[in-house]
């Protein structure tokens, strides 16, 4: 089972964990990506995330479905935040449950790595003296 959410509200890791655990798995791996206070020494004030929402959701669902084919995954929750995030806010929470632990780590890592490559979500870092769309330019 898969739970994909894109939300302007604060993410709640426990909700993802509860969803993943409810399948009776032996192992759950959870990844939480948060907003750091600096990028290469430059102080970040806040982040703005925007998404092409319907495709972001469908791409996250495709990733979760692929993970369920590649590993014996029982449940996957992927919650991604959009809007204005403060330092320390969670931008993404992923919870993956599997019968045995090695696959939970592998699948969870693959999911976040793949999200960062293919899901149409963009983040702009706002510094005290400017702003930049992350990864936009080579």
């Amino acid at each position: 089972m898969i739970d994909i959410q894109l939300s302007e509200q604060e993410l709640n890791a426990q909700v993802c964990i509860d969803f993943a655990l409810s399948g009776g798995a032996g192992a759950v791996d959870v990844f939480i990506g948060t907003v750091r206070d600096q990028t290469q020494g430059r102080k970040v004030v806040q982040l703005e995330y925007e998404a092409y929402e319907p495709m972001a959701i469908s791409e996250m669902r495709k990733i979760a479905e692929s993970a369920m084919h590649r590993w014996p995954v029982q449940r996957i929750a992927i919650h991604h935040r959009v809007g204005t995030l403060k330092i320390g806010d969670a931008a993404v929470v992923i919870a993956v449950s599997t019968p045995h632990r090695a696959e939970a780590f592998e699948a969870c890592k693959w999911i976040i790595d793949t999200i960062k490559q293919t899901v149409p979500i963009w983040k702009k870092e706002i510094f005290e003296d400017g702003e930049v769309w992350v990864a936009a330019h080579p």
Binding site: S58, I121, V134
Partner: protein, 80 residues
Amino acid sequence: MQVKILAFGVAKDIVGSRQFDFAISDHTTVEALRKNLHTQYPALEKLASMAIAVNGEYASDEVIISSGDEVVLIPPVSGG
């Protein structure tokens, strides 16, 4: 024909709005559209990449754009 194009992230800043109309000839491919966009908005060519989605899916270069398609400019993604 006119096609509606949505732009996100840095692409929105370059074209100046979330949504704009763009004139293309019939049977224009994604590859041809990208070239036309580069001519109109040279800054798009400076991006690390710019994918184009048609109707909610990444579209390869040879896909032909039809009237009424939802066309979206996808500069380098940075979610997570």
